[in-house]
Symmetry: C2
Subunit: 585 residues, 2 copies
């Protein structure tokens, strides 16, 4: 027996018990006449003490021990003379009677501490050591709890978890598919799913009216900091439902997650809903952070016609009002100007106005505006004494984007984007289609299976760009956590949709024939959604990188530097797969 209990369990009630513990040595303090060892496992740290009452054999071993050695000890629990209130086991220690080294350790390449001295690359290479650190360990525990909560909730609502295949079929729509050559079917390929979308719809056709799956999905694309080539979705679908049913079911799930994982009650009230159009107009984003207000105001009418060329030439002029920020210095304002001029934001300059204590307004464009005209702008944006009004002008799309970023920046600076505060919401009524300039055709904003809103159905043939989708995104604190839609379940409508997307009937049949075929045999109305599980974990965990919540993540180049993959394979393997490597420049 290696242990009778774990390193996080002993309390003052256990004093005088004999216990056996096993774990990793966090630290040895050898004081000569006595020594203390911090023994660590997944559950905590227990202090071991070796003093002159201990057997000589044990005392002699102390000098042989080092950080991260794995040992098993037996000894008696005693009350500590100097207690450590910071840890749960801090009132006791174990006086060692027997000590066995189970495994030695070289000096680890970085310290196994909450704040480590190891850089990102090094920690990735030794991920199994990084996983020993509390922040990463706790991220894994959080992820486990969240998955469990999802499953408990959905099971209690009658959902069935059904596994869909990983080896599926490549489609040209899925330009970023990973493909898998088949040995048994030479020259042919499977593809890894970017999502189980079509399969879950087939499950609805099959009569499984409530489906979910926590499932790996795959995308072979250039990676940004928060993307991974393999990622995990909470994938869900329901039959005989309208948007309202889906939203209320998963709002319930989100509330249960907040309550049971974070201990946060979000009350009975529904999460706020916002149309996509309103979100874009008021926040410049389809995933607004509504932990704070500071909406974008359209002041085009008020700002134009004062002979200020910058405004007069602009398609759109928008403003946000930063509460209490009129104290911002010239230097701070210059920094904000630099911020909006960054290439990824792309504004030409920043106009501003301070609301003074007496309510009067002083702006960077005073010479063009009467005090009343300034006051009118201030009133429009809800300006009050001590507020700072920030104004951008130009092309509407660009200005909204810039104001969105500026708003988030100001929210950050003013401490309005608080950790531990959560503002979940739904964004609804997305456009169904986006015009793709490059390909000169419409593409689906979500995917080709999204249903138009009933009331916009006619527009699909007359003015496709105007059609709104019966789609919804779940957003927390400005981060898209999930999204979904009511699906098309009618074969003719689906064919119409493929046509609007520029598919020939043959292409549609070739790629999605199995789904169109399934719709011939009684397809129920259905809809669903999928959550990005990695991202939801990082949202609940309070750190930005989803990598911390993935046991063995890949880096920005899609590489696992620990196992050194991807890597070349043997010629023999290539031959069996009927393949040859042919690099092009």
């Amino acid at each position: 027996m290696y242990r009778s209990t774990n390193c996080g369990s002993l309390r003052i009630e256990n004093v005088s018990q004999e216990v056996t513990l096993a774990g990793w040595i966090q630290k040895v303090r050898d004081l000569g006449s006595m020594a203390f060892i911090d023994l660590r496992d997944r559950y905590g740290i227990t202090q071991l003490s070796i003093n002159d009452t201990c057997a000589e054999e044990v005392r002699n071993m102390v000098s042989k021990l080092g950080r991260e050695y794995v040992i098993s000890i037996t000894g008696k629990v005693v009350e500590r003379s100097s207690k450590n209130k910071k840890i749960a086991t801090g009132e006791v220690e174990v006086v060692v009677e027997k000590l066995t080294i189970l495994s030695v350790s070289e000096v680890p390449p970085f310290t196994i501490e909450d704040e480590t001295d190891g850089g990102e690359e090094l920690r990735a290479k030794y991920r199994y050591l990084d996983l020993r650190r509390n922040p990463i360990k706790n991220a894994m525990i959080l992820r486990h709890k969240m998955a469990k909560e999802v499953r408990n909730y959905l099971d209690s609502k009658g959902f069935l978890e059904i596994e869909t295949p990983i080896l599926i079929k490549s489609t040209p729509e899925g330009a970023r598919d990973f493909v898998v050559p088949s040995r048994m079917n030479g020259g042919e390929f499977y593809a890894l799913p970017q999502s189980p979308q079509t399969f879950k719809q087939l499950l609805m056709v099959a009569g499984f009216d409530k489906y979910f799956q926590i499932v790996k999905c795959f995308r072979d694309e250039d990676l940004r900091a928060d993307r991974q080539p393999e990622f995990t979705q909470i994938d869900c679908e329901m039959s005989f439902v309208e948007r309202e049913d889906v939203i209320s079911t998963f709002e319930g799930m989100a509330k249960a997650m907040f309550q049971n994982v974070l201990g946060k009650s979000l009350g009975e009230a529904e999460f706020p809903r916002m149309t996509w159009a309103d979100a874009m107009e008021n926040y410049g984003s389809d995933k607004p952070d509504i932990r704070f207000d500071m909406k974008i105001n359209n002041i085009t009418d008020l700002a134009k016609g004062h002979d200020f060329g910058v405004f007069d030439d602009a398609e759109y002029i928008g403003a946000i009002c930063a509460k209490g920020a009129s104290v911002y210095t010239r230097k701070q304002l210059d920094a904000l100007t630099d911020f909006v001029k960054k290439p990824q934001i792309g504004s030409k300059g920043l106009a501003y106005a301070r609301v003074k204590d007496d309510g009067s307004v002083k702006s960077s464009f005073d010479k063009f505006f009467s005090p009343e005209a300034l006051k009118a702008i201030s009133d429009k944006v809800g300006g009050e004494a001590t507020d700072l009004i920030l104004i951008l002008s130009g092309d509407k799309k660009q200005v909204l984007h810039a104001l969105c970023e500026l708003r988030l920046e100001m929210g950050e600076k003013l401490g309005l984007r608080k950790n531990g505060v959560f503002a979940p919401m739904w964004v609804v009524d997305f456009p169904l289609l986006e015009w793709n300039e490059e390909q000169e055709r419409y593409t689906a904003m979500h995917h080709p299976f999204t249903s138009p809103l009933q009331e916009d159905m006619e527009l699909l043939t007359t003015d496709p760009g105007k059609v709104r989708a019966d789609a919804y995104d779940f957003v927390i604190n400005g981060v898209e956590i999930g999204g979904g839609s009511i699906r098309i379940h009618d074969r003719e409508l689906q064919q119409k949709m493929f046509k609007a997307l520029g598919f020939t009937p043959e292409e549609a049949e070739n790629q999605f024939g199995f789904l169109l075929n399934a719709f011939k045999y009684g397809a129920p109305p259905h809809g669903g959604l999928a959550f990005g599980f990695d991202r939801w974990c990082s949202m609940f965990g309070g750190t930005e990188s989803i990598r911390d919540y993935i046991a063995f993540p890949k880096n920005n180049s899609g590489r696992d530097v620990m196992i050194d993959s991807p890597s070349p394979i043997f010629d023999e393997q290539l031959k069996e797969l009927s393949l040859q490597i042919k690099k092009t420049l």
Copy 2:
């Protein structure tokens, strides 16, 4: 709203309620003046009735309806005049007030009934229709319940479910790896895991002392009826454990599954254990079906020396005793002889002896044996009046294999392999290594990370073939449901093992360097196991094919005939992957 309740819920208590139901039409019986519709969903069937009290509009729709149409109806629950006791809703029916066709259906290619007229190929192509049938639908529900039970049990024992990567690294040991070309790393490949073995061991090194995962694994090999290119494992690992800890933990899980999924209490007693050597000797198999006894007996000593050449020339003579089968006719015995002569069994003939009512023995080789010699054989195998003794001779390995098959055949014929009876057991102490004639080297019987038994450690250098592994298989009714082992956690021992398997140090480093490296930094003793989830489902479900328990399975050629995959991909895709197809003959 499409429904207020489901088609399995209405009872006599609901009479006079107004309800809305949605589902598929199982059957329409149009009697002219009235009509009955069986409406089906995942939860059951409810009878709808349309009579002359119904609106004309509704009455007129009856003739338009057909099998598998999806409809939504509103109506009043009434007591049936002729009740159907076979179904839970059989006491009531719903008189239809409103009927909406949600989706029409062509005549399905096979009947959606428990016993269907569709062949395997057709049902596979229309899997979404096959999934509507009760046997397949119930298989999915069973699978969901089993996964839930596994998770509940392991969570309650402190196990964490941790996802390991699907895009990993190919190793030559994994000759049957599926590989995945990387677009971003041209000419390089990921591989899909045959199991998360090394990753779960790294999780142990990382300090997660209790890990599990219900996870997809992949193997690109010629498929037998009960194999799939992608399959699901319940993968588990524990630290600071010996074999006993692992076995008792998962025996507990198995008992919970029997209890909570099948409602079968297996009591307090431990599952039987058997060494591999005993299993081979007594059952000719490393996965004995112990629902019935009929052990194999070694009668070599008793059978030799009677001038019967067939026996005298044999290395080994073995016998089984089929209780009460002495009534077997000549014809039945000839059939058994044909059975053992089949190429896959390979015996040359079958000897037999009947134990008569008076205890005397009459055999097919009487002329060589005295009555006493026959009696001695009969006594050895436990022969009693009315028993039939079946004897095979020859090469020991072949005879044991043949007797194993003959035993199962007789068990089947005598009704001893009862459905619904479960005999779980553990087989332990497997050989560590097998001699591979072709490659002229040892290969690992389980995998290269399996620890030798402590007491056999020395043999690893002196007589590797004799070394027993600290390994265990979980067997139910003659089917291997799971298996695992205590692992090597010592770098030097692991290197020794690789050497015994014929790896050069460079090969070992190149392929498993990350694991050997991890063992440098304090690896805990650890062990675990993995269960074949698909097979366990089929065991509990009581049918032989694991395909019934997989929502979208592949056929014997690894093809998904529903979506027609694998399939060719576009040249553009190949080019992006730096690949060219080159078929060889």
